[in-house]
């Protein structure tokens, strides 16, 4: 298929369809409305089902039912809607159902605004709903990368029997870039012999997260933890940009990372050896990337469109070896290269050389 110019939100829909997703349940919310709109038009063309639910709560529970029935299924929303879905997400994680959840983040808290933000990082990577569970979370920085990751997400979800979330800010959903759709590398996927498809010639299957005996529930939890451990060992992804001789490593994901990339180049023009570490998976967090950084590193600067959330993971990964600074804008304000550059200069000026 030739390259097409696509809006992030449409590309999400098309990538999912190309990956075999045939069911979409959602509820309108800005700035992700093009996802359900695209799906309402395209899914019937490929024999799928688009259904606008009565609420985000209902939508995620329809996803639960469809995933439990063995289908490739997704939902999409933005921050306040994702909050409403948390109950269902916890059940999906507990029942180990594969599905894709898109969060096109807008500024919060509460109803917040509709401008882009990254302030749902904690919610996505540290829980969100109740219980000891984790989503597999990707944070793409371009529409092409988002397409590639979505196409892989359904395989990852099936492989681990775990919900996958794509965390994108409003800019990524709204901007347009050329994309092409390429089939991802094949994974060996186990058959969905656990799905509720009608018990013809077999024992009944049950999709369930209830376990009233504490010891049994603990055993289930340890098994989930094993799964997350497996993800941490095998699935961390990141991009390193000009870090080979870096003294200042800037850490940023999503759209922010692309702004930071231009800052890195500006700083290098001014003689400051800056580099970028861009997490692509934010759960599992790419701690392995930090071990690959050279001894020249003197400081870290985390840049986010939030009041400072991922910076905590950076501090855990750096583990006191170097100072970790933070620069962020929140509420829907996008940081400018100028203000990031200024903070970076201050940090490097203040460091003994």
């Amino acid at each position: 298929m030739a390259k097409q110019l696509m809006k992030g939100n449409e590309a999400i829909g098309e990538a999912a369809i190309q990956a075999g997703c045939r069911y979409f349940f959602g509820y309108p919310i800005t700035p992700q409305n093009e996802v359900p709109e695209y799906m309402s038009r395209r899914l019937p063309e490929v024999g799928g089902v688009f259904l606008q639910a009565e609420s985000e709560v209902a939508a995620i529970n329809m996803v639960y039912g469809a995933a439990g029935a063995g289908a490739r299924v997704m939902t999409s929303s933005s921050s306040p809607g994702i909050s409403l879905k948390q109950e269902g997400i916890s059940y999906i994680a507990g029942s180990e159902l594969p599905c894709l959840i898109i969060n096109i983040i807008r500024g919060g808290p509460g109803l917040g605004g509709i401008q882009p933000a990254q302030s749902d990082y904690f919610q996505a990577t540290k829980g969100g709903g109740h219980g000891d569970y984790n989503l597999f979370v990707f944070a793409p920085a371009s529409i092409q990368e988002m397409v590639d990751l979505i196409m892989e997400s359904f395989d990852i979800a099936d492989y681990y029997r775990n919900p996958v979330m794509i965390l994108g800010d409003g800019t990524l959903g709204q901007m347009m870039e050329p994309v092409e759709f390429k089939a991802p590398k094949k994974r060996d996927l186990p058959p969905k012999d656990w799905a509720t498809t009608g018990c013809v010639g077999r024992e009944p299957n049950v999709i369930n997260s209830l376990s009233l005996v504490a010891e049994n529930l603990e055993r289930h939890n340890w098994r989930l933890q094993e799964k997350y451990k497996h993800m941490k060992e095998n699935e961390q992804r990141w991009e390193l940009y000009k870090t080979e001789d870096a003294e200042l490593v800037m850490v940023a994901y999503g759209t922010t990372a692309r702004i930071v990339k231009s800052v890195v180049n500006k700083l290098r023009e001014q003689g400051i050896k800056a580099g970028l570490l861009r997490p692509i998976t934010i759960f599992p967090y790419p701690v392995k990337a930090f071990a690959l950084l050279p001894e020249t590193v003197k400081a870290f600067l985390t840049v986010e469109m939030s009041a400072g959330q991922m910076v905590e993971d950076v501090r855990l990964a750096v583990n006191g070896k170097n100072p970790v600074h933070f620069c962020g804008r929140t509420g829907g304000v996008i940081p400018t290269p100028a203000e990031i550059t200024k903070v970076a200069m201050e940090i490097m000026g203040g460091e003994p050389r």
Partner: protein
Amino acid sequence: MKFTGLTGGKLVIVGAYGSGKTEFALNLALQIADLGPLALVDLDIVNPYFRSRDATELLEERGVEVVYNREFRDADLPALSARTDAVLAGGDTTILDVGGDDGARVLGRYKPLLLRSRAQVWMVVNCFRPFTADPEGIIATARRIGEKAGLPITALVNNSNLARETAAGHVRQGASIVRAAAERMGIPLVCHCCRPRLADQLSDLEDELFIMELSLFPADIT
């Protein structure tokens, strides 16, 4: 250039989602700003970002009146400005930037004024967008938008591009597809849009070349 003929008239810019209507409307406004009083009406009720209103300061510097509901610039509300009716009834040249696809439904409420002023309706087409990759798709899209708008499309604009990856060949490829669609629809093709860097390579195109300097793609994003 043929845009001088727009003076005093009302021009509605429609198109599929992401066809580049807003970029075209803004660049057109900047190019004809010196020809006389001009208003740009942002009627986009579907997009939350990348709207004409985001270029308000730039346009005002050039003396263009930008019409939208000022109190709700970033709001998640359609909230049309009452000023729109006045501008449409008045004598200033007026460009209406309408939201993509079904966003054209907003024109329904202005139909009497638009008919009275014999408004032209130009549909911007990017052949590298889903649903408008061939003449059939373009014609179907024009029919759908025309129905939503309650007004027929009077001309097509070729804005075929792949953003930063656009080469002259892409514009040419789009030119022949859009021209074929225009011929089958029996309406004119106004122009082919391109970035300044491609202008020299496209000077041989038989229809007018429209060079767009202003880009809405966030400049800070590498």
